[in-house]
Symmetry: C2
């Protein structure tokens, strides 16, 4: 089907999915979980075929690992869908309520955002997760997975779409695109698509972001920092630097740069860098950090850093180290070279921590904790749609609320503005307690 | 100054303004109000000169009226700034808080969005209002008013910028652009500008929206509907139709189309249309509404509407009328031809009202109230930044919260992710009561 036509059908479905009851959406998730269980062998067979082709094509081992979607990963997808079932219903939640005048009540009510395009590389588990988030939130979705996973995605999306349909979601609530050309077309349809959610490598995400006028929820870069303030406790500093960098260096929330206050003691500085080396981290040291700490370090895991390119995302066991003269200098460095993802300060000073957290213009700002905590599951969001480093809508790790917007509902009894313009009536403007869901609230 | 250079300076100012204390921001508003009072005659003289040129250039009377900024309007600006002083401080408000584990607390905290470009036609009062909203929210702003008001805007922005500076806001927190070429350049600087807020005619807003990759908060069209359900009480239907259309027809929240259920009684239908005509409204009737109601109407205020162009924004005493067969048909019409601004149903049925409010994909959806209520002041927002019909960030009438975003603040005591990955520790994920502001919360 032509992409524009398909998007129009999906947009129509989004309009209807907006009004799907909580029961229908819950039933959809149940049937989707059941469909994955019942179709596990069919999915696994398709995935085997995709894997065979990928191996023949010489795909690298890490990519093959991401592509693999066998019984264990299918089980994880099923439990992910079931855990979404347990989250509160996001639709119809009253966010604020205000009495404008007698019998004139204004409510700000959460509602689905509409049609979402979800575009990601390889991993078929992302497809299952995204489809489940769409069903939970009452959105329609157009999904495009990696072409290496084409067979797997086809089986998977057909099972999931069918399950939603049987539960009462509208036809075309879930569509699967197969080619890059379709994605390019889709990214132009800003009259139909309300939001784009890309997941994949930074080059991939950047290409999506620059290719569309539709709002994109995501992030391309993860240049995260750990800043050791002058009073940072040495042991905590070492533990947080090592965890932030080395616990899983390929993640976007792994730290890339260690900033160290000039008055942080040299002995402690050397101990922190020694701990990083012991964890296998190769250090790129600015001239001042070389002078302060290099003598005590393994020379094989050091290289000098004399350039000013502080925005490198290593995604590897490498870390840049820079001495700064002050807390404001650390903040200025992060705001200049960082990617607004996640940045941490290590200090015993509440005042320094507050200045850091207020002054660093990033989506997550930490005091005495590893940058690796920046993650939807660790934040307790229940499910992660992605991590957003933009400043509008949803920011940082984003759960199902990333697929929600709100509308203003005004309930009156025939009020006209002319009465307020003439002075015959006056607004009351009194905030009222939030009674719960829109449909319940009005019973009272 | 070159626009790019100026934007870089303003971006730097935005970073510093983010951390301005509540006291500094309040003092800025006080001094801005005082500066307008002290500079009133200087402003009025500049405005007189602008008005003289505009008259010589043959500017139309309504535009001259918008351009005029004499003592009374200056007084209104001053009281607008003073009323902003009374609103709660939006910065640092804790939106949610969650205990992740012992001694590991996650807070979602409201913070300023950064550098905002505010671009508007003629009205100098908009400049004062926008500058005040920026000061209140801790944002920096680059303003561009209409070129007819160049002298007025220059005096005004210099007085306001100076007042903020004396209160302790950073240099360059408020800058004023003077040419269209500068605006065009500014709209390309998506690395510096976080948000664009346009105010003016729909052609003006549309040109801004299509010319930038920076997020735009606003709306171009206001095609609002009043739908009379089959059971709509005739007197209420007439009052709401008349107020929605005729109370101030040039406003974006004025209704343009009246949809009427086919079973709404012909006699009542004729009465509603008669009331509209009595208010001076010229009706454009679809064939079915002509058949139902035309015989009872003034033929001089009727014209036939036989085309399918239902997205016309008259902004005038003209209204299109269409008969629809059902509530779903009314919803479908609005979602197809409307502009996601404000749409109202008139009915005695709670069930019909709920279906309408859930199914209409607009930023404001009303039950038994005039569409003219869609306005920041009437909503009790204290001040209006604008009305947004997009679905991301802020929607509908938007107050100072349109200039806010949030960040995640994590406060720990040395926690590392490795302990949770190994199973040595487990997340608690317990929502905790919101204690107030970020800086207070941590004292406890």
């Amino acid at each position: 089907m032509e992409t524009r036509r398909q998007a129009a059908l999906c947009k129509e479905a989004a309009i209807h999915a907006m009004t799907a009851s909580a029961a229908v959406r819950a039933r959809a998730l149940e049937l989707m979980a059941e469909a994955l269980a019942a179709g596990a062998s069919e999915i696994a067979a398709a995935n085997e075929a995709d894997l065979r082709d990928a191996r023949d094509a010489g795909l690298a081992a890490p990519l093959l690992k991401r592509l693999a979607y066998g019984p264990e990963k299918i089980e994880l997808s099923i439990s992910g869908i079931r855990s979404l079932l347990g989250l509160p219903d996001p639709v119809g939640k009253v966010l604020s309520a205000r009495l404008l005048d007698d019998g004139l009540v204004l409510r700000q009510v959460a509602c689905p955002i509409g049609l979402v395009a979800m575009i990601f590389e390889s991993r078929p588990d992302a497809l299952a997760q995204m489809a489940a988030l769409a069903a939970k939130s009452g959105c329609a979705a157009m999904l495009k997975g990696g072409s290496e996973a084409a067979r797997t995605n086809r089986v998977l999306s057909s099972l999931l779409a069918g399950a939603g349909l049987r539960a009462g979601l509208p036809e075309h609530w879930l569509a699967c695109l197969e080619t890059r050309a379709q994605v390019a077309e889709l990214l132009e349809l800003d009259d139909s698509v309300d939001l784009v959610v890309p997941r994949g490598s930074k080059e991939f995400v950047r290409s999506i972001m620059s290719g569309s006028r539709i709002p994109v929820l995501g992030h391309s870069d993860g240049v995260c920092h750990v800043y050791l303030h002058e009073d940072a406790p040495a042991a905590m500093a070492a533990a947080l630097a090592v965890d932030s960098k080395a616990q899983y260096p390929a993640a976007c929330n792994a730290a890339e740069v260690l900033l160290v206050h000039a008055r942080f003691p040299d002995r402690d500085f050397a101990a922190v860098l020694g701990a990083l080396q012991a964890a296998g981290v190769r250090l790129e040291l600015c001239p001042r950090s070389r002078a302060a700490a290099a003598p005590a370090l393994d020379p094989n895991l050091i290289s000098p850093k004399d350039d000013e390119d502080w925005s490198v995302e290593y995604l590897d066991l490498r870390m840049a180290v820079r001495v700064v003269d002050s807390l404001p200098a650390a903040i200025a460095h992060i705001n200049r070279y960082g990617s607004r993802h996640t940045d941490a300060i290590v200090t015993g000073s509440r005042e320094a921590a507050r200045a850091f957290m207020a002054g660093v213009d990033s989506s997550s700002v930490y005091w005495n904790a590893s940058t690796r905590f920046a993650d939807g599951y660790r934040y307790g969001l229940g499910a992660e749609l992605g991590i957003a480093t933009g400043k509008l809508h949803a920011r940082g790790p984003v759960g199902v609320e990333g697929l929600m917007t709100y509308k203003w509902e005004l309930e009156g009894s025939g009020q006209v503005v002319a009465d307020y313009a003439s002075g015959a009536k006056r607004f009351v403007h009194r905030d009222i307690a939030i009674e719960g869901r829109a449909e319940d609230a009005e019973q009272g």
